[in-house]
């Protein structure tokens, strides 16, 4: 599998994120008692210590908080698409919740489909989903391409 993109390896805390992603839903863990959102997911709420959590649906809208353009040396599947972008998106619904992803021209487009010079901090983006080795993962497209 060394020449395919890496699939997420979920842990107990993160598994629901990927289950919702499989249904095309972007959801973030929240405390079921005090309501605080948290990311990455974890067993209990750092604010009120409740172990009860729920997964709150996000609109999928956000803004680019930062980005890099990796060049080789990289793992083979990534080197094939390099230079590509990796971005951090802050969610419109919860600006302190940020997700790492890739800005693409369409859900199934390659990681290098948006020219590097089109990347900028603050750009409005929308979550979409694509499948990598049978696992649904979020990608991001520009709200106004």
């Amino acid at each position: 599998m060394s020449d395919s993109l890496l699939s997420p390896v979920p842990d107990d805390d993160g598994a629901p994120f990927w289950q919702y992603a499989a249904h095309g839903e972007l959801r973030v863990q929240a405390c079921a008692d005090c309501g605080e959102l948290r990311f990455p997911p974890r067993p209990c709420c750092p604010h009120c210590h409740s172990f009860a959590s729920e997964w709150r649906r996000m609109s999928g809208r956000g803004r680019v908080w930062s980005y890099v353009v990796p060049h080789p040396p990289l793992l083979p599947a990534y080197a094939e698409q390099a230079p590509y972008n990796a971005i951090v998106v802050e969610l419109a619904d919860a600006p302190r919740i940020r997700l790492v992803g890739n800005l693409v021209t369409a859900p199934d487009a390659p990681l290098n489909s948006v020219p590097a010079q089109r990347l900028r901090i603050g750009a409005r983006v929308q979550a979409v989903f694509t499948e990598v080795d049978g696992v649904s993962v979020p990608r991001w497209v520009l709200e106004r391409p």
Binding site: G14, V68, V69, P70, P83, A86, R96, R98, V137
Partner: protein, 382 residues
């Protein structure tokens, strides 16, 4: 409550040659560095009763102790988070010796990062923050993770590639004075920097540290015993570790203020227990796996205000004769990258007056470990 202030001193330092490839094993290199440090101190191996190293160190205490003939060990500790643990190895020994848990401590790091594998290529190794949130998206290497913070830092504060070049140049200039440095005979120009290949934009080749084989060690004893040693004692004045609330390691994207890293936490403790302030620091050895870590650390350790770290590098401030000479052996960028241990030994050399780029009359030195990961720092004084 008695603390560790000036209670212990570094009395011996040792190192192997540095190279892209050394033929000997990490274990052999570790033994050579430790024996060199003990020889420098004039202390017999059989007197060592304390050890400290990194969790990433692959030669364990049992191997070291039996190979070099150490005595009965009563204290041994390992610190996590890669290069964030460098200064903590000395800090743990200082605490152990001050508390009476050991009398002669040795800290070391041996690594074949030059000829050995790149850790990020092993995707089965788990990260402090689960890799499911980053690696599938091609955020694979430390350079990518720190590059993300660097881009945001440049955006928020107007930092430029010229500022990062100032950092790379200062380290290279010091390496050009240090015959033991990998980059001893290889000057760096602005044109070389600006036209070099990208690693992860905004970071280019020269924003990244070297890949080095080598080992270093130092010997710590009580201040009382240090007075009888044959080298000039370098006292551990203050020491700190730092793991901030809601910190996430190099992918620190998920708290309120990702650009306020572990340096800020370590610095608060470090200065609280010190008799002097950042203005009194004569020379600094600042962890430089990547150039942006230096402006971030300058802010964190209080040499300038938040957002001013890049501007601080202007006008030759980091060079000899500048406001704060840094990484006077060349640092991880241009001397050797051995998880920051060369920065510790260089701090000792400055306070002995034996650096190849000596800051005249240097009496105080800050040494830091990796920023962007749970970190540590030392204030040394002569």
């Amino acid at each position: 409550m008695p603390g560790i202030k000036d209670a212990t001193a570094v009395v011996g330092i040792g190192q192997t040659p540095f190279a892209k490839h050394l033929p000997e094993s990490e274990k052999a290199l570790a033994c050579r560095a430790i024996l060199a440090a003990l020889d420098d101190a004039g202390i017999a191996a059989s007197e060592v009763d304390g050890l400290a190293s990194y969790t990433m160190e692959e030669t364990d205490e049992v191997e070291v102790a039996k190979a070099v003939g150490l005595g009965d060990l009563t204290f041994f500790s390992k610190v996590g988070y890669g290069g964030g643990g460098s200064c903590a190895t000395v800090a743990h020994l200082a605490a152990a010796i001050a508390a009476g848990q050991a009398t002669v401590g040795v800290a070391w790091r041996s690594r074949k990062r030059g000829s050995g594998p790149r850790p990020w290529k092993n995707t089965t190794v788990q990260l402090p923050t689960p890799a499911q949130w980053t690696r599938p998206f091609g955020l694979l290497r430390p350079a990518d993770e720190i590059g993300m913070l660097a881009r945001r830092y440049m955006h928020e504060y107007g930092a430029t590639r010229d500022h990062l070049f100032n950092v790379a140049l200062a380290c290279r200039n010091r390496a050009n004075q240090n015959p033991a440095a990998i980059m001893y005979e290889r000057p760096l120009t602005r044109e070389m920097y600006m036209t070099s290949r990208w690693i992860s934009e905004p970071l280019c080749l020269f924003d990244n540290c070297l890949e080095t084989d080598g080992a270093l060690a130092c010997v710590l004893v009580s201040a009382e015993r240090a007075r009888d040693c044959r080298t000039r004692p370098v006292y551990v004045h203050s020491a700190a570790q730092g793991l901030p609330a809601q910190h996430h390691g190099m992918v620190n994207y998920w708290n309120d203020d990702p650009l306020t890293g572990p340096a800020w936490t370590a610095a608060r403790h470090l200065w609280k227990h010190a008799d002097f302030t950042p203005e009194d620091v004569d020379v600094a050895q600042i962890y430089d796996a990547f150039t942006p870590l230096i402006p971030l650390s300058l802010e964190g350790y209080g040499f300038c205000a938040r957002g001013e770290g890049a501007a601080f590098t202007e006008g030759g401030a980091l060079e000899i004769g500048g406001r704060l000479p840094v990484n006077t052996g060349g640092g991880g960028l241009s001397e050797a990258y051995v998880h920051g241990f060369n920065l510790i030994n260089e701090g000792v050399k400055q306070l002995r007056g034996t650096s190849t780029a000596q800051v005249p009359g240097a009496a105080t030195c800050l040494v830091t470990a990796g920023e962007g990961v749970p970190t540590s720092a030392l204030l040394l004084r002569s």
